[in-house]
């Protein structure tokens, strides 16, 4: 019997996972929650400034200003803008790499798996060409040209990507972004020492970053990845740690850049590679999904048949997945790759390879993705992983959890597949909403964290509350990974829905929570909202649609949140984003934003109360649309 590392693990909505982690002999994030329980109030409220050598300055009643004279409003807005800029930078890095990958593949006339997606993108961008490769290259060039524009030159595709009423609103408010990378640069400069002190200007800059993040970092990344890796297809799938098959050489991928391993993914099922795996006693290779890129693989699993085994879990499930002992290598291409996996990988002899130095792990090998070297890189990565498998498999005991997760989670939803499921029109969904069978839509998006009641606790409880109120839930992000492992994306979960949503789900054979996959899919949800709004002839803030990032974790989530506010949507957060120390920031985000864009932030850590707040908003919007 192995000894537990400690008995102080945090709770999880996913009880089998909670018990599995509690019994582990190694330390995980779940174990560290208690030792980090006492948080500094200055940090929590955004009122600590260490931008200069006079700091850290902290705001108290006796010291209401930093040495430089900056007050709480300036401190908070600077800290918030820095975080949003960094979060935006993350997504812009992802879309830049996706566009570069598409351009490289197109130039070489390589495999493009999503030609309909290419046609749709080219139609949207008004790009034409003599063949698919010319079209793909031109589309990628148009995206890259926008990303690289200076801050004083507006991005050209914004108008083509945005919903017209929103574009006009943004134009009127002076929120149209310059080059996406330059906007991140400007946000970083603006929030540096003794520069901008205007909290409202900095909060408006966050909205600008939200627009470039949402339209390019989210929406465009999906479009590019769909062209390269194929489009989502609706299907039922196995989820959770049950998907791990120890008879294979298992590779867990973490990150957000599906485009970066297109070649490697294709190579892993080639005959010569499968034979190499068989020569060392494995049946072949499998990719085990984890974090958002796992959700991306899950959406596009139809294009990785025989290779992708399923999504095992979200960001804070990664340590547990590795602790099964059945993972032979971790390929890292971006966040959310916890530093906590590193000692586990060392202890269990799991090979770590980084495909992007942006996400370089301290004890990992770097194999920076490059299109020219993709073939030799893929071969080298594969042979390193085979070596790891040979060394570790006889040595490391397995600790599997085959009862974790379920076999009938509905996946593969996208703006295209859902519309197709409804008969190539949004009318059936609009009818269901109009007649009140579905009260409204709630997008439960973003990350998982461990401090909103525990791992996925608020997310899952809030989702249950919402569906019980006949509100259809759509998910994108690590929230998807948590909710699916808790079984809410199976048709049987209809039992947990309110009577009319339950009837809808049962007649269609669908769950009350629809899984759109990774956080990038917030861009897909935006497209759906736009198409529904278009069909109704209204602007986005008028829709009976609310957003929640109940367990937001990262700076990227804050950039997503800024996008939601720019879209004019009500945004619920389980924890405040380190802004409560500033009366102006709270006023602008929670109240004044309603007059600016139509959106606003509401913060509540209680699932039942939050669901009531969200329902009230939906009911008000229904009333304003003259719906019963």
């Amino acid at each position: 019997m192995t000894q537990r590392f400690s008995c102080t693990t945090c709770l999880s909505a996913d009880k089998p996972l909670e018990r599995f982690v509690a019994d582990l002999p190694m330390e995980t994030s779940f174990h560290r929650v208690e030792t980090q329980e006492v948080k500094c109030e200055f940090g929590l409220q955004g009122c600590c400034c260490r931008l200069c050598a006079n700091g850290p300055c902290r705001i108290t009643p006796d010291s209401p200003k930093g040495i430089c004279g900056a007050d709480a409003d300036t401190l908070v807005a600077r800290n918030f803008l820095r975080a949003v800029a960094a979060g935006s930078g993350c997504y812009i890095h992802v879309v830049e790499n996706a566009a570069r990958a598409l351009k490289d593949i197109a130039k070489e006339k390589g495999a493009l798996k999503g030609l309909k997606a290419l046609d749709r993108l080219c139609a949207k961008l008004e790009v034409s060409g003599s063949d698919i490769y010319e079209k793909a290259e031109k589309a990628a060039d148009a995206v890259l040209a926008d990303l690289y524009r200076p801050v004083f030159e507006k991005m050209e595709l914004t108008k083509k990507l945005a919903y017209a009423p929103r574009y006009e609103k943004w134009e009127a408010l002076g929120l149209l972004p310059g080059g996406a990378k330059s906007e991140v640069f400007a946000g970083t400069v603006k929030s540096s020492t003794n520069l901008n002190s205007d909290p409202v200007d900095m909060l408006l800059h966050c909205l600008r970053l939200g627009i470039s993040t949402g339209l390019y970092g989210l929406m465009m990344t999906n479009m590019l990845n769909d062209i390269i890796q194929g489009e989502p297809e609706i299907r039922f799938a196995s989820v959770g740690m049950r998907v791990i098959d120890p008879d294979y050489i298992n590779i867990m991928i973490t990150g957000h850049q599906h485009a970066l391993f297109a070649h490697l993914q294709n190579r892993l099922t080639d005959d010569d590679i499968v034979k190499q795996a068989q020569a060392v006693g494995a049946k072949g290779f499998k990719l085990v999904g984890c974090t958002c890129v796992g959700q991306d693989l899950q959406l596009r699993a139809a294009h990785a048949v025989g290779l992708f085994d399923g999504h095992a879990g979200n960001n804070f499930t990664s340590e547990a997945i590795l602790a099964t002992g059945a993972i032979d290598a971790v390929l890292t291409e971006f966040n959310c790759t916890l530093p906590g996996i590193e000692p586990i990988c060392d202890a269990l002899k799991i090979k770590q390879i980084c495909l992007d130095t942006i996400a370089k792990k301290a004890n990992a090998q770097t194999m920076q993705y490059g299109f020219e070297s993709r073939e030799s890189d893929a071969n080298s990565i594969i042979s390193d992983i085979i070596e790891a498998y040979k060394v570790r498999r006889n040595d490391v005991p397995l600790n599997l959890l085959p009862e974790h997760g379920n076999d009938n989670t509905l996946t593969g939803l996208s703006e295209v597949t859902l519309k197709s499921f409804l008969g190539e029109t949004w009318q059936p969904l609009i009818e269901l909403i109009a007649t009140g069978k579905i009260k409204g839509l709630a997008a439960v998006v973003g990350c998982s964290n461990l401090v909103s009641g525990g791992h996925d606790v608020l997310t899952v409880e809030l989702t249950k509350e919402l569906i019980a109120k006949d509100i259809l839930v759509l998910t994108a992000g690590c929230s998807s990974g948590g909710i699916e492992n808790c079984g809410l994306m199976t048709p049987e979960a209809a039992e947990l829905a309110g009577p009319s949503l339950k009837a809808v789900c049962q007649s269609l054979g669908i769950p009350p929570v629809l899984n759109f996959g990774p956080c990038l899919a917030i861009g897909r949800l935006e497209l759906i909202a736009v198409e529904i709004a278009e069909a109704l002839g209204v602007d986005l803030p008028q829709l009976p649609l609310v957003l929640s990032a109940p367990q937001w974790l990262e700076e990227q989530a804050l950039a997503d949140g800024a996008f939601a506010l720019a879209l004019g949507l009500p945004l619920h957060l389980g924890l405040p984003p380190f802004v409560t120390g500033s009366p102006i920031a709270v006023q602008v985000l929670c109240e004044d934003m309603k007059q600016l864009t139509g959106g606003h932030v509401m913060i509540n850590g209680d699932a039942a109360e939050s669901a009531v707040l969200m329902e009230e908003i939906i009911m008000q919007k229904r009333k304003d649309l003259n719906l019963a």
Binding site: V38, K39, C40, E41, R58, T60, D62
Partner: protein, 145 residues
């Protein structure tokens, strides 16, 4: 006689008091580090059931349970100041003081688990508690009792 008084509602959980205590009680030859387990604070901030900060400091009790439970004479009360002092040379390491402290503020040392970590009211620093000096929220102060 002086005691540290706590105004819980003023605490913001910044842990300045803990760092001040660590700095005031550095073992010889050990440089200050936030990762060296040999450095420990004699105070702690916990969260209560309502998630409110609960800073805990040694009360230097009038009838100290730690002294009553100490069989080796390592715990003594100074008759002039009323402060309870701990002498590691006298300590047998039974940790009955840790078990009996009603405030849960005593603990075995993290690095060797042979001695007790106990507030000495900064007697080597003029009996002016470093934690009090470093609290930027005035959540703790010294009062004559």
């Amino acid at each position: 006689m002086k005691r540290i008084m706590i105004e819980t509602e003023k605490c913001k959980g910044c842990k300045n008091c803990a760092i001040a205590c660590m700095k005031a009680h550095m073992p010889d030859g050990v440089p200050f580090s936030l990762t060296d387990t040999r450095l420990e604070a004699r105070n702690v901030i916990l969260l209560d059931k309502d998630k409110q900060y609960r800073p805990l400091f040694c009360r230097h009790c009038d009838n100290p349970s730690c002294i009553k439970s100490c069989m080796s004479g390592a715990m003594t009360k100074d008759s002039a100041t009323g402060h309870v002092y701990y002498d590691p040379k006298q300590c047998a390491g039974c940790f009955m003081c840790v078990m009996s402290c009603p405030f849960g503020v005593l603990k075995p040392d993290r690095a060797t688990k042979t001695t007790v970590i106990k507030c000495d009211f900064c007697k080597d620093h003029g009996s002016e508690p470093s934690c009090v000096k470093q609290c930027i929220n005035q959540a703790i102060h010294v009062e004559e009792v």
